[in-house]
């Protein structure tokens, strides 16, 4: 766990949208999926997971439906909506712009100044 990076504020929503965009998931599944796709590099704060899911549902980016889990338990599954897909695209583009700008700034050398 020590190696896991802390999430920047505002990135949790983006990661959740990404996770459910691959396949409908229940809350615990979202947690596992984010760990998996970040190769255990990101540890999401579990206490904020559900409020974030509820917020996204409230804004209509994901919808929730009760279904059966792999081991036949009742579980709430989240699916990305069209609005959520749009949102994910926007956030991804914004993030990429920011990340490459910061990377460029940080790789500046004294000759370039």
């Amino acid at each position: 766990m020590d190696k896991a990076a802390e999430l920047l504020p505002g990135t949790l929503d983006m990661l959740i949208l990404k996770a459910v965009s691959l396949k409908p998931l229940h809350g615990y599944g979202v947690l596992l999926r984010i760990r998996q796709i970040s190769k255990d590099a990101l540890e999401i704060p579990q206490g904020s997971l559900y409020p974030a899911l509820y917020r996204l549902e409230h804004h209509g980016f994901i919808t929730a439906e009760w279904g059966q889990s792999e081991n036949n338990r009742r579980a709430k599954y989240y699916t990305l909506t069209a609005a959520g897909r749009r949102r994910l695209r926007e956030e991804t583009a914004g993030w990429n712009r920011l990340a490459s700008a910061i990377a460029a700034a940080l790789s500046a050398t004294s000759e370039e100044v």
Binding site: Q46, Y50, R74
Partner: protein
């Protein structure tokens, strides 16, 4: 925005499902996580500790989830509402006094306003009622302020005053109506043929009177009010052409008025043509009004009252030129005045009603001041309680919203009682004779 309101509404209407779902979801999470940790070799107790540390308190998570949907405001509001209700129940003397104050003030205002609305504000039930005018002769120097109009006036003015689209006369009366043995004395109106077209509201079935029906040989026709038609003829649509006896003279029913037809304060059930002989229409009878016949007219769309008045004055002056009694008439200060129909009809009661309205408004003000006093006394009694709660960590926002909720609850309850009081007050006024005021019988409890 709409999406969020809809989702909030969905949660609020299925509040229990929301809570149970939240618990089940968290339970599922904890169980799955425990199973996974145990499978990786951790003891159950250790797993529980780890999860507890990573997840935090389920109570806090649930609170955050409720906040995500905005339902926490409603929970808060409900809690404050029940707290306020409890506080108010604990001080019955204060609560009853405050509620009664509010109920009396609101009730009195509602009642008087209902009368004002009916008499002064509600438009007359005719199209463009503001263009309806009343015209009457006045001889102030002979001590006669109002003398109605004469038949001569009507026949001389009809179609000759350009400012008026239509001009007509009417007179009130009572008549014995019905077959021998089952007669009743009814209010009636005698009207000129253009009376209904002047008002802009004619019979719902059948036709209006014609000019040929204005002599005593040809006037054997009648138009019925909706109420009379329903009561006497069971709303029979085939009533047209039937005979009805008025003062034992048989007349043919030619029309039935719509339910909304009500001319000022009149409760006329049967309308008859205003018949006259040619000699009644002669110039010598011009000043024989005697307040029996009244004249109303409808202004042309572009015409003004002043224009109509000057046209009437000009015609009067021209007609008086060859009147043998011209000097006497002029000495009496003769004029024919044009005044708005509604204002004229309610002129006598208008000042009284406005005074009453001012009275109840002052009553409302006094009530409000009283209530503020009561609330201040109550608040000063709670200073200690509030100080203690603040010291224990209650935010001022919370305390303020609590007081606002309490006051709102009180005023809403008072308002409801006031509505009941208003409804009762209107009944009382009707019992006391509000319907004898001009237009007063329209006084009703409604949300117009």
């Amino acid at each position: 925005m709409i999406q969020r309101l809809r989702s909030l509404f969905r949660v609020l209407t299925r509040r229990r499902d929301f809570e149970e779902g939240m618990s089940e979801e968290l339970r599922f999470h904890i169980e799955q996580y425990t199973d996974d940790l145990v499978r990786s070799g951790m003891s159950r107790e250790k797993a529980a500790r780890v999860i507890r540390a990573e997840l935090g308190s389920p109570i806090n998570i649930k609170a955050d989830c409720r906040e995500a949907f905005g339902v926490h405001f409603f929970d808060e509001f409900r809690r404050q509402l029940s707290y306020a209700a409890r506080l108010l129940r604990k001080t019955p003397a204060f609560t009853v006094t405050a509620l009664l104050t509010l109920a009396v003030c609101f009730g009195a205002n509602l009642t008087i306003f209902a009368v004002i609305d009916s008499v002064l504000l509600r438009p007359l039930p005719f199209p463009e009622p503001d263009r309806l005018m009343m015209i009457f002769n006045t001889y102030p120097k002979a001590g006669v302020d109002r003398d109605g109009s004469s038949l001569t006036n009507y026949y001389e003015r009809r179609g000759r005053i350009p400012a008026f689209a239509s001009l007509s006369i009417y007179g009130y009366g009572t008549e014995i109506v019905g077959e021998p043995g089952s007669t009743e004395r009814l209010q009636t109106m005698r009207v000129s043929p253009d009376f209904f077209s002047t008002l802009g509201l004619g019979p719902a079935i059948g036709r209006t009177f014609t000019d040929e029906e204005t002599t005593s040989e040809t006037n054997h026709v009648a138009i019925l009010s909706d109420a009379f038609w329903r009561q006497r003829y069971n709303a029979d649509p085939k009533v047209i052409g039937k005979q009805i006896r008025v003062n034992s003279v048989p007349r043919t029913v030619i029309g039935v008025l719509p339910p909304s037809f009500r001319f000022l304060s009149s409760d006329a059930r049967v309308f008859l043509p205003l018949a006259s002989r040619p000699e009644d229409r002669a110039p010598s009878r011009r000043h024989s009004g005697g307040n029996v016949i009244q004249m109303i007219a409808r202004l042309q769309p572009a015409a003004t009252l002043a224009q109509a008045q000057s046209e009437i004055d000009a015609q009067n002056a021209a007609l008086e030129l060859d009147d043998p009694q011209a000097k006497m008439i002029a000495d009496a200060g003769f004029r024919s005045l044009v005044v708005p129909l509604r204002a004229d009809h309610v002129a006598a009661v208008r000042p009284t009603l406005l005074l009453l309205e001012a009275g109840v408004l002052v009553l409302l003000l006094i009530g409000a001041v009283n209530l503020v006093n009561l609330l201040l006394i109550r608040a000063s009694g709670r200073v200690k309680e509030l100080a203690v709660r603040q010291a224990l960590g209650a935010g001022w926002r919370y305390l303020v919203s609590e007081v606002v909720v309490e006051t709102t609850l009180l005023t809403f309850a008072g308002g409801l009682l006031g509505l009941a009081g208003g409804a009762g007050g209107i009944q009382l006024l009707r019992g006391l004779g509000a319907d004898r005021l001009p237009l007063g019988s329209h006084t009703v409890f409604d949300a117009r």
